[in-house]
């Protein structure tokens, strides 16, 4: 069953065609990699799916719903969460506060309930702290819950971004270069984390330049070049596709 599908999505910035009529589908429960050279349009595709960028043409469907034109917070509420290519935590807020931002869309307390600290609001606050702490435990950052997010090591900040995204209770998680800037040990841990996320019945879509990571983690790989999808299939199929080798993998192999 397809959880996400794009139909003829196009986006131009000025004269530059960033995404040119991309159509793709993502099966529920899979880990799907999106790869391609720099400037191929991968991040733009992610930005279109999450609503940060509006496509000029084409449609995005998620669990049968048309997402086209919805604002990002609505899309998050429908079940798509993301991390950013360049880390976008709230650096001066605590680790816990960062994760609580993800919980926001699953809470109901309004302004009046908060202003008057009604019992329902207090109960909700207690539950949300448990929820946020359990996500921090999941990624292994529970011990530093009271530290400012900006004081964490780089790899920890990446994991915190994932915890924050998981706190939105997504059905589809989109990771933009999750292993970027990580050392080997951290990357290995991340592979385990991505697999555990999938085990929670969360479909994962990721952009990654670390080919070893993509080939080992992903069920399917989509390859983009110059705004178009040039190949897709299992990691093995993609690796042996001549167009892919020419466009991407052939570079710097030896």
């Amino acid at each position: 069953m397809l959880i996400l599908s794009l139909a003829g999505v196009t986006k131009t910035f000025g004269g530059l065609v960033a995404v040119a009529g991309v159509s793709l589908g993502v099966e529920r429960g899979q880990i799907v990699g999106l790869i391609g050279p720099n400037g191929a349009g991968k991040t733009t595709v992610f930005n279109i799916i999450t609503g940060a960028v509006k496509p000029d043409d084409g449609h995005i469907f998620f669990s049968g719903r048309n997402l086209t034109g919805l604002r990002p917070h609505r899309i998050v509420a429908l079940g798509i969460a993301r991390t950013f290519q360049t880390i976008r935590l709230f650096p001066r807020l605590t680790v816990l506060d960062n994760v609580l931002s993800g919980c926001h869309c699953r809470l109901n307390s309004g302004v009046m309930a908060s202003l008057l600290r009604l019992p329902s609001q207090r109960l909700e606050e207690r539950l949300v702290l448990q929820r946020a702490m359990s996500e921090l435990e999941f990624v292994g950052l529970a011990e530093v819950w009271s530290s400012p997010a900006g004081s964490l090591a780089y790899g920890d900040q990446r994991r915190l971004e994932i915890a924050r995204a998981l706190a939105t209770e997504p059905k589809l998680l989109i990771l933009d270069e999750p292993a970027g800037g990580m050392n080997e040990q951290e990357t290995a841990n991340l592979m385990g984390l991505v697999a555990r996320i999938r085990d929670r019945d969360i479909t994962v879509m990721l952009i990654e330049h670390d080919m070893g990571f993509v080939m080992r983690v992903c069920h399917r790989v989509l390859v983009m070049e110059n705004g178009s999808l040039i190949a897709q299939g299992t990691p093995r199929e993609v690796r042996s596709d001549p167009r892919v080798i020419e466009a991407y993998l052939g570079q710097g192999e030896d």
């Binding site: 807020l93 908060s114 448990q130």
Partner: protein, 341 residues
């Protein structure tokens, strides 16, 4: 860690006792002044009431500017709407002053909603310019006796005093208590608001609006709501101001007044209520203390602001991270790791 956990708890409770003493002493001030037989007592109380009024205004601006990070320099507009709403209801329809409080809040909040709706998406400096426009437009409207409700440049005269439980508030001492009790209630309510889903959302917006939206926060709605709440509170401050002064005119609601509120928030500590309170005392109180040096006052004021922006842009008393009390089992599993960093 030099301080063990135990002494940390102790020093916290010492701070609590000291602040309770401070508040108690402050509230006993009128009695102390009267006992001392000081001749300037009414003047001091009147000055402290003005400090309190500006504290109230700045605390309301703090929701918009300090928590949500929206550069809003037109807060006097909403202050004015509240004051004129009260004056009209009282003078024309004979409403008691305190009964006009909710109407003043509603009117100011409604105006805020209407003017903010088309511009709320603007960021930083652009929003700043628009809000300056708002306060100017309101002032011009008041001066031109809009809808025949504002009395033009002369304003409205003869507004009644508030009556609380049958007691007519008229002495400086009475206003001191009325205003500072309102400040106290405001600080408690806004403290709760700040440490809630809504307050957190404003902090996320201030830190990174794109990331906040990307994590599921309806940034437009929350910014708008912050604007309306801040404005409504300024409207209520307007009610108190109108009945304290008994006369209101457009001169009281200038751009300059907006700048003073803006300065109090930034100078004291954007997003921190106690910092804002400190800012109100400094900005409103210090110039009075140095009245003898009339000529140098504004110079010193300007110099202080410049120095602040260079050496301490976060304000004198910036906010500290929210301290959560974790529910069990997490509280015992992960005691707070107050690492110095």
């Amino acid at each position: 860690m030099i301080w063990g956990n135990k002494s940390g708890v102790q020093s916290r409770s010492i701070v609590q006792v000291l602040s309770a003493l401070g508040v108690g002493l402050f509230l006993a001030l009128p009695a102390l002044l009267a006992a001392g037989g000081l001749r300037g007592a009414p003047y001091i109380l009147d000055l402290l009431s003005m400090v309190g009024l500006y504290a109230l205004l700045s605390l309301s601006l703090n929701v918009i500017l300090g928590l949500a990070g929206m550069f809003h320099m037109g807060h006097a507009a909403f202050f004015a709407v509240g004051a004129y709403a009260t004056a009209n209801l009282n003078l024309t329809y004979g409403w008691p002053i305190l009964a006009t409080l909710p109407v003043a809040a509603l009117m100011a909040g409604t105006l805020a909603f209407i003017v903010a709706l088309p511009v709320i998406h603007l960021r930083g400096d652009y929003l700043l310019i628009v809000t300056i426009g708002i306060v100017e437009i309101v002032k011009i409207a008041l001066t031109n006796d809009i809808f025949g409700l504002t009395g033009g440049p002369n304003g409205l005269i003869g507004i009644a005093r508030p009556v609380v439980f049958g007691h007519r508030i008229s002495q400086p001492r009475d206003f001191f208590y009325l205003i500072w009790i309102m400040v106290g209630i405001t600080m408690i309510l806004f403290h709760w608001l700040e440490n809630s889903r809504f307050g957190r959302a404003l902090k996320y917006i201030k830190e990174d609006t794109v990331a906040a939206e990307g994590m599921g926060v309806n940034t437009t709605a929350h910014k708008l709501m912050a604007f309306v709440i801040g404005a409504a509170w300024a409207g209520m401050a307007g009610t108190i101001f109108a009945s304290k002064m008994r006369t209101i005119s457009p001169d009281s609601f200038t751009f300059g007044e907006s700048v003073i509120m803006f300065t109090i928030v930034i100078l004291g500590g954007s997003g921190h209520q106690k910092g804002v309170l400190l800012g109100a005392f400094l900005v409103m109180g210090l110039p009075e203390l140095f009245r003898d040096f009339q000529d140098m006052r504004l110079l010193a004021y300007g110099a202080a602001l410049v120095a602040m922006m260079i050496f301490r842009p976060q304000g004198l008393w910036p906010p500290t991270p929210t301290q959560y009390r974790l529910p069990d089992p997490y509280a015992t599993k992960y005691p707070r790791g107050d690492k110095p960093c």
